[in-house]
Symmetry: C2
Subunit: 343 residues, 2 copies
Amino acid sequence: MENKTKVTIHDIAEKLNITASTVSRALNNNPRISELTRKAVLKTAKQLNYQPNHIAAALRHGKSHIIGIIVPTADRAFFSSVVRGIEDMANNLNYKVIICQSYDNYEKEIQTIDALLSARVDGIIASIGKNTENFDHFKRIQAEGIPLVLFDRTTDALEVSQVMIDDYLGAYKVVEHLIQQGCRRIAHFTSPKKVSIFKERLRGYSDALSDYGIPYDEELVVQSNLQLVDGRESMEKLLKLKERPDGVFSASDYGAMGAMQVLKENKFKIPQEVALAGFSNDPFTSFTDPALTTVDQFSMTMGKKTAEIFFEQLKSGNKEAVPQKIVLKPELIIRESSMKRGA
Amino acid sequence: MENKTKVTIHDIAEKLNITASTVSRALNNNPRISELTRKAVLKTAKQLNYQPNHIAAALRHGKSHIIGIIVPTADRAFFSSVVRGIEDMANNLNYKVIICQSYDNYEKEIQTIDALLSARVDGIIASIGKNTENFDHFKRIQAEGIPLVLFDRTTDALEVSQVMIDDYLGAYKVVEHLIQQGCRRIAHFTSPKKVSIFKERLRGYSDALSDYGIPYDEELVVQSNLQLVDGRESMEKLLKLKERPDGVFSASDYGAMGAMQVLKENKFKIPQEVALAGFSNDPFTSFTDPALTTVDQFSMTMGKKTAEIFFEQLKSGNKEAVPQKIVLKPELIIRESSMKRGA
DNA sequence: ATTTGTTGCGCAACCGATTGCATATTAGAA
DNA sequence: TTCTAATATGCAATCGGTTGCGCAACAAAT
């Protein structure tokens, strides 16, 4: 255990009376090294408990073999699941992953990117924070010439590959379903933020209504931050309308949950009097009573697909390939909260 | 934007007709550099858009200024909250954080530690995976001479600082509360794993019973993996007993949730017929119907405290200081699922 | 026997920043 | 005026691998 000084390839070299170059090549399976030498090196390395210093290697060929992932928060099932998909692939390719959280905070997002850049990550995969409206920090990533891929919370303000789900379609399906269940006054919780996912969901809502001949009513579209409390407030506001809604489609599960609480507190029957649907298929949605209808986003698939595109770009040396835009199909998960007409 | 080659201190030096040493010192605020030179260097650095290469610096003085955090999974509110607490402090001290997930997988835990070690992190903060029973990989961290601090899922098999909550006390409080609500046959969901938290919770359960003169009944203690499905199975098993329990204390919120589902499916009244309590205060516990009684673990505090101890150790050069063991007090959160006697 | 390859390994530069020691310049002290 | 001491900067080694180029040794081809 005399580990005072870390053992290096030079130690191995000395012990075998060869040079560090040979040791390095042996360890890297360079074909120009004889089988005999390689075996000896490997054996000695094990004996001395040699641990490669990746920092030195990283310095030498300018690649850290680390990729950065930026998510608004890691404690949302959706994001952590995407991360897992990415991680799996990265690990297989022998890349390490730094997960950073922006907490939907613009300043923190900038800092995070700075940190990742100066840590010399080989590339960055990100989902944009809710409050971000300026994308210069992302442009800096591209200016460095390292790959950048966005997922879910993306933007068209950047020339970049992105993987998202078809939010429009998901929303459309939800609203169509609510209509088919008999709803005629369907409210929608949305966000004022410039993130495209919310705009797309709103568009899906509005188009579905119009396709089924239901007028779009401004007072039924409530803007908020879509958290639990926001859902509560929005619902309370809706209940004060002369004509209350008979269905609510929230662009987030938490928002829908808030609505559910308020409705239950006011003794409304869900879904008979008011049907309810969220978006994201957060695990808790199956725990509520009634269980919440929502839209699944195939997060693992999104992670895998994102990683695929990312590493493709990485391998290709990040040439100015045409940015790809992958749109995955979401799935409507129908649960009790919207089944007015039975299963 | 001619950023083909990254600018280095040598570029700055050349432009100013000085040497890289001077530039380095100027950038590091070394007092042996004249104010004039320093200003010039800073200005030129900005002009050329110089970005320090931390990898080179890391190689030079053997410190990466990166710390590794290992959690079983980042998508559990508890863990991500602890992580956030750690992150906050780390960022303030200008350290970066790599978050790694072991997914409660022993092999992956080992790989992760290897990866972090060869990434030359300056220290590691970890919560042990459920299935880990051998701790040699953690000993390797210590053998490297870098600080290691464990939180929540800890072990006494290692001479290491640890931060945990008083699981015994938390469990005791829950059971005491259930007894005070009138429960006399209280079941407990526990895990067979060697992680101390579950053993402590079991001990709290058992002691509370004994303190209140209630016999410990083996058939009421069900072992499982404590996930949702496990909770369901355990509850189903309990309902087949000749004498069913009138209270259930699950060592995990998910387990309690599974029990709740089964009880509701079988039309049992919660809490009147069976009172229910979990452990962890996962956000979803306030969304269930009835809302779930549980134990809060002050995750942010745990994160802060963990970081505090960790950096203390790091600053002190990781001398063989006596490992500290911090035990935080948990808080019982009483909700409807256990309020037999009203609020 | 000479040429042409092939194989296996060493030499030395290099990645970018840091730092102990040396040196030059200037100021202050004797 | 000469000596001492700061002050400001340069020199060169170093961190631990990696890699282009070169060379020796031996085999195969002519």
